[in-house]
């Protein structure tokens, strides 16, 4: 199987981009990108620095409006929606340069992200109320899974680097997304942390979460992703399974540069 064949809507594309472009004045940061992310899969987005990967994330999450094309999530057009609306549809993201809420505690920052369709009344009832305690319990469980249980009362800005990366993912998951966008989540991780991350992605995939992953570490990209899309200069230059991508001469030339990488 090559190209996008076999990943049509009927087969469960959760997210599909068609001819998406983003122009900053005269610069075309993203040009005519089409891709489909199948439900329940881990899809990798790779490419050299400046290839437009993060811009694609910004378009999907509504941080920037696309200037061309269409982006559909479970049949719903995303272009023109606000980031908060897109999140409530079921898309959550992390940021390449970690962005936590510096003055909030770990637990607070997860609670505030929780996807609750509560009434306005529940919004203003203090934390002692029963409903709020339930939410708090849920947030604490999530933090335990991410080994942040003991640090739940610390300020986000006081966390060590690896914990900050974990917390960003935990916060995104607290919104209960169907699609998780991870922007270089493994940057700066140690070998041990990389292992933990791989495990985590595997577990999340097993729970049915769809993941779109920007990754520079080729080992992680190859081992975690079911499918890879390669961008270069804002355009898609290849797509396929990790094996296909590894063997693709266009990718090797444009992205990897030399074979020993």
């Amino acid at each position: 199987m090559s190209g996008a064949a076999g990943w049509g809507k009927e087969n469960g594309a959760l997210l599909s981009l068609a001819g998406v472009g983003k122009r900053f004045g005269g610069l075309e940061a993203v040009k005519d990108v089409s891709l489909e992310v199948a439900a329940g899969r881990v899809h990798g987005l790779i490419g050299p620095n400046g290839a437009g990967k993060t811009t694609v994330f910004n378009l999907i999450s509504g941080v920037l409006p696309a200037t061309e094309g269409s982006m559909k999530f479970a049949g719903q057009e995303l272009n023109g929606l606000t980031p908060d609306r897109i999140n409530t549809l079921g898309i959550a993201r992390t940021f390449q340069n970690i962005r936590l809420f510096p003055t909030m505690t770990v637990l607070e920052s997860v609670i505030v992200a929780q996807n609750v369709r509560t009434s306005g009344w529940d919004m203003i009832v203090p934390f002692h109320a029963r409903k709020q305690r339930e939410m708090r319990g849920k947030a604490e469980e999530l933090l335990k899974v991410f080994h942040l249980g003991d640090k739940r009362h610390e300020r986000c800005s006081a966390l060590p680097y690896a914990d900050q990366r974990r917390l960003e993912i935990a916060r995104a998951l607290a919104t209960e997304p169907r699609l998780l966008l991870l922007d270089e989540p493994t940057a700066g991780m140690t070998a041990h942390e990389l292992e933990e991350f791989e495990e985590r992605v595997f577990l999340l995939g097993k729970q049915g979460l769809t993941i779109l992953l920007i990754e520079h570490n080729m080992n992680i990209a190859m081992s975690c992703c079911h499918r890879l899309t390669v961008l270069n200069y804002g355009q898609k230059i290849a797509e396929g399974t990790p094996e296909e991508i590894q063997a693709d001469p266009v990718v090797i030339e444009a992205y990897l540069g030399s074979p020993e990488e």
Binding site: R99, A113, Q132
Partner: protein, 291 residues
């Protein structure tokens, strides 16, 4: 007959302190979503004039007039809040500054409410009534700070973009903050008018808005207690330094510079009260029940 515990002079200072606390809280509520409003004297003016008009001209009861005056200020808060959402940082400051001056000038030229002659006759404001409203507003903001909505305010303040990507309706939250702040400022204006019985447009000028902001900067902008402390200090300080005459102003400047150097976030920071009152190391909030 023993002399009264508090004379007229002390009572007036106490009343102004209460009004200043309300004004400090009104800036604090808006600042809690990272928007600096320099127009709160404008909201105060609306509350003052509308409520005075209602009690003096239409013989409304004071409480009803206060609330309607404050709601009129809220309306103005929404009108100014929505365009400010498209702006950020210094531009919000300029927009609210322009708004405040616009309101003041409106009352300066609008003759039915006295124009430059001012508006007199509003009576019935007492120290008790002022502190009743202080108590209500403090309680409300305190509860807000311990609610999910309060956390949303913090998230917006810390990082607006991220707040959006985790699904928070940032636009509504920011307009909501403007509404809360303008309501409190409107109440403060109504109480002021009914305490001093005479209001004129210069009471609500830009300098007044700036002084209100100083309450919060001095006391601390991270918690509502900071705004309260700042307002109290700025009310009492001019009185206790009266003997210094014009040198007072130099002293204020020196105090402000010192605070900004020593404690840039203000006298009270988030979590300070817990520390000072020596409960064990507890989180900033959410310390409610033991785990």
């Amino acid at each position: 007959m023993g002399r009264k515990l508090l004379g007229y002079y002390e009572l007036t200072i106490l009343a102004f302190m209460g009004i200043n606390i309300l004004l400090g809280l009104s800036v604090y509520a808006i600042l809690a979503t990272n928007q600096l409003s320099v127009g709160n004297a404008g909201f105060m003016a609306i509350g003052a004039y509308i409520s005075s008009f209602l009690t003096v001209q239409l013989n409304w009861p004071l409480e009803g007039a206060l609330i309607v005056g404050a709601l009129a200020a809220v309306l103005a808060g929404v009108v100014i809040g929505i365009p400010s959402l498209r702006l950020s940082g210094i531009y919000v400051v300029l927009a609210t500054l322009g708004f405040g001056e616009m309101i003041r000038n409106f009352f300066n030229v609008y003759e039915p409410l006295g124009g430059p002659q001012g508006f007199r006759g509003a009576i019935g404001g007492t120290v008790g009534l002022i502190y009743f409203w202080v108590a209500i507003c403090v309680l409300f903001l305190w509860l807000l700070g311990r609610s999910r909505l309060g956390l949303s305010f913090d998230a917006v303040k810390d990082d607006e973009l991220v707040a959006r990507t985790i699904g928070l309706p940032v636009t509504k939250i920011k307009v909501g903050a403007f509404m809360i702040g303008s309501f409190i400022a409107g109440i403060a204006g109504g109480l002021y008018a009914h305490y001093v019985s005479y209001i004129e447009p210069p009471n609500f000028d830009f300098v007044h808005s700036t002084i209100i902001i100083l309450f919060v900067l001095l006391g601390g902008m991270e918690t509502l207690w900071g705004a309260i402390l700042g307002a109290a200090i700025f009310t009492i300080l001019p009185e206790v330094t009266r003997f210094m005459k014009e040198w007072r102003l130099a002293l204020y400047g020196a105090i402000l510079v010192a605070i900004m150097i020593l404690r840039p976030a203000g006298i009270i920071r988030k979590g300070d009260l817990k520390k000072w009152f020596r409960r064990k190391e507890t989180p900033v909030r959410l310390q409610g029940e033991k785990t």
